[in-house]
């Protein structure tokens, strides 16, 4: 078993490193397309303009957007964990005084030992709804946050299992990808709002340019190409936030099963996680403190979306988490297999 999981762990770490790089490349490439695509459209529309009029030759828009995207990606990577924690209103536990907090610190320390990662920084979100999440760029700079509601609701063993799940995400580098994604989703949403205004000006220019090319007599050449480019380009602008959202959903579902399995490996107590998940599932109220951008980081969908209860094409495309019932069933299966094995050993 340990050899198997270690292989999985290694593959998962590699996959996460690769996906993080791909995410950054995709992010920058998307912005480069927005920029250089706009430049090209502008170039086509001004190509046949009179000699004295403005000719768009230098792709300043593309260069500017690419540089912005690079800076954003770097900024998201450097400050992602802080931004995510800040957006949830978490506060760090420095000197635990209250017995519940002390227990949380102990439990996190225990799980750090069991998983073999350095002790992460511990945060509390003062929200009555039970949930937990991890953030960070690597195991050395990791953060684990739980809500006050989780501390109230869960027994020590259940808390241990939930923290084990989060440290599973830390150990296999899920946190790197997920934190970066959370930060990028936020950045795109922000930039999109700002850029929509610029875009409105851009379409006006493009429309005027299209008229100009018709007058130039190149009907078969630039006209349709220009129109298609323009439509795709505008669609890209409009869809940017949705695309990043779907990306955020797609990366988070499968790894929940793996983190569940890692928690079971650390605690040797899969039934504790099963009962913790059941309790978290039972608390239907959405977590007020967790915004949409950080939802994919949590142990269970904090927005209380009922999609999580179902499986299928639609749910697969839109839910951040796999069906809770299936996760619980898998953990129970592990628990009973373990009991059977131990029972056989004793008898």
């Amino acid at each position: 078993m340990s050899d198997d999981t270690s292989l999985n762990l290694f593959q998962q770490q590699e996959a996460n490193r690769r996906r993080t790089v791909l995410l950054v490349i995709g992010f920058v490439a998307f912005f480069a397309w927005l920029g250089f695509g706009g430049d090209y459209i502008y170039y086509l529309s001004t190509r046949d303009a009179p000699r004295t009029a403005y000719h768009h030759v230098f792709p300043w828009l593309g260069i500017a957007l690419t540089v912005i995207a690079l800076l954003t990606a770097w900024y998201a990577y450097a400050t992602g964990p802080e931004k995510v924690l800040w957006s949830t209103g978490a506060r760090p536990i420095v000197d635990p005084t209250d017995p519940q907090e002390k227990q949380l610190v102990n439990v996190v320390e225990e799980m750090a030992i069991a998983s073999g990662v350095p002790r992460p920084r511990i945060w509390i979100v003062d929200d009555p709804d039970p949930t937990a999440f991890a953030a960070g760029t690597d195991p050395l700079h990791a953060h684990v946050a739980v809500t006050r509601g989780l501390l109230e609701l869960c027994s020590r063993e259940e808390l241990q299992a939930v923290v084990g799940h989060e440290l599973g995400h830390v150990k296999n580098l899920d946190v790197r990808l997920m934190t970066l994604l959370a930060a990028l989703v936020g950045a795109v949403a922000l930039m999109h709002d700002g850029a929509t205004r610029v875009l409105r000006g851009g379409t006006n220019l493009g429309g005027g340019g299209g008229g100009g090319s018709r007058g130039g007599g190149k009907k078969g050449g630039a006209g349709p190409l220009l129109a298609v480019l323009l439509v795709v380009w505008i669609l890209s602008w409009i869809l940017a936030p949705i695309i990043t959202q779907i990306l955020a959903l797609a990366v988070s579902r499968k790894r929940e099963y793996l983190a569940d399995a890692m928690s079971a490996q650390f605690t040797r107590n899969p039934l504790a996680l099963a009962s913790a998940l059941q309790k978290i599932e039972g608390a239907v109220a959405p977590t007020a403190a967790i915004k949409r951008g950080a939802a994919h980081l949590c142990i269970a969908d904090p927005l209380g979306r009922r999609l999580t209860a179902r499986e299928g094409l639609f749910a697969d495309a839109l839910a951040t988490h796999p069906p809770m019932a299936k996760r619980i069933a898998i953990l129970r299966g592990m628990g009973y297999a373990q009991l059977k094995k131990e029972g056989g050993g004793v008898a």
Binding site: S2, D3, S6, P99, K102, Q103, N106, V107, E109, E110, M111, I113, A114, S115, G116, R156, Q160, F266, R268
Partner: protein, 194 residues
């Protein structure tokens, strides 16, 4: 053409050799590190016990034998621990004895409501639970890592590099069955009184 194929094969074999060798060395160091972690946690436990005993001593005059068993087991464990990693068998025996002595003490503490009523004992119990868990998890990580290391160095084809990497099977941290199993029995016999 033939020499090119030969060269390619040579490069592939060399790359595999390097990978397998480095994999073994990495596992070896992980195993050593995991062992160190147990040591850290054991030391922590040894430091905690005198405080624990002092805290409950006054209220538990008539359970002197339980307390003495804990102190004795602790001193024995500290002594054996000084011998270093070579004596893993003796260390694990002494630590297991200490674990069961501590667990007996905790069962006894459960029976004194006036002890539990003072907030100190609640915190102390949490500390002790955590310490015991930390020792157990450190042991678990060591055993997992050591098993992985042992499996790797015995499996074909990595076993051919094992000599080169000076890989030796690592001893696992044995959990003594009697000591571990005795505890729930004690627990059960005490239950009716609570």
């Amino acid at each position: 053409m033939g020499s090119i194929i030969f060269l390619v094969v040579l490069v592939v074999v060399a790359a595999w050799l390097i990978g397998a060798y480095n994999g073994l060395i990495s596992l070896k160091n992980q195993t050593l590190n995991a062992f160190k972690q147990i040591d850290v946690q054991l030391k922590r436990r040894h430091d905690l016990i005198p405080n624990l005993v002092n805290a409950v001593k006054g209220a538990m005059e008539f359970e002197r034998s339980t307390l003495e068993a804990v102190i004795q087991a602790r001193n024995q464990a500290v002594k054996v621990n000084a011998t270093g990693p070579e004596g893993i068998k003796q260390i694990s025996q002494a630590e297991n004895a200490l674990s069961s002595a501590l667990q007996r003490l905790m069962v006894v503490v459960e029976q004194y409501p006036q002890l539990k009523a003072t907030g100190n004992i609640g915190q102390l119990q949490e500390e002790l639970t955590s310490t015991e868990n930390k020792v157990a998890f450190a042991r678990q990580l060591y055993n997992d890592t050591a098993t992985q290391y042992n499996t790797k160095q015995q499996q074909f084809p990595t076993n051919m590099v094992a000599g080169l990497a000076k890989a030796q099977p690592a001893d696992l941290w044995e959990i003594e069955d009697q000591a571990e199993k005795a505890v729930p029995q004690v627990d059960l016999s005490m239950k009716p009184k609570v």
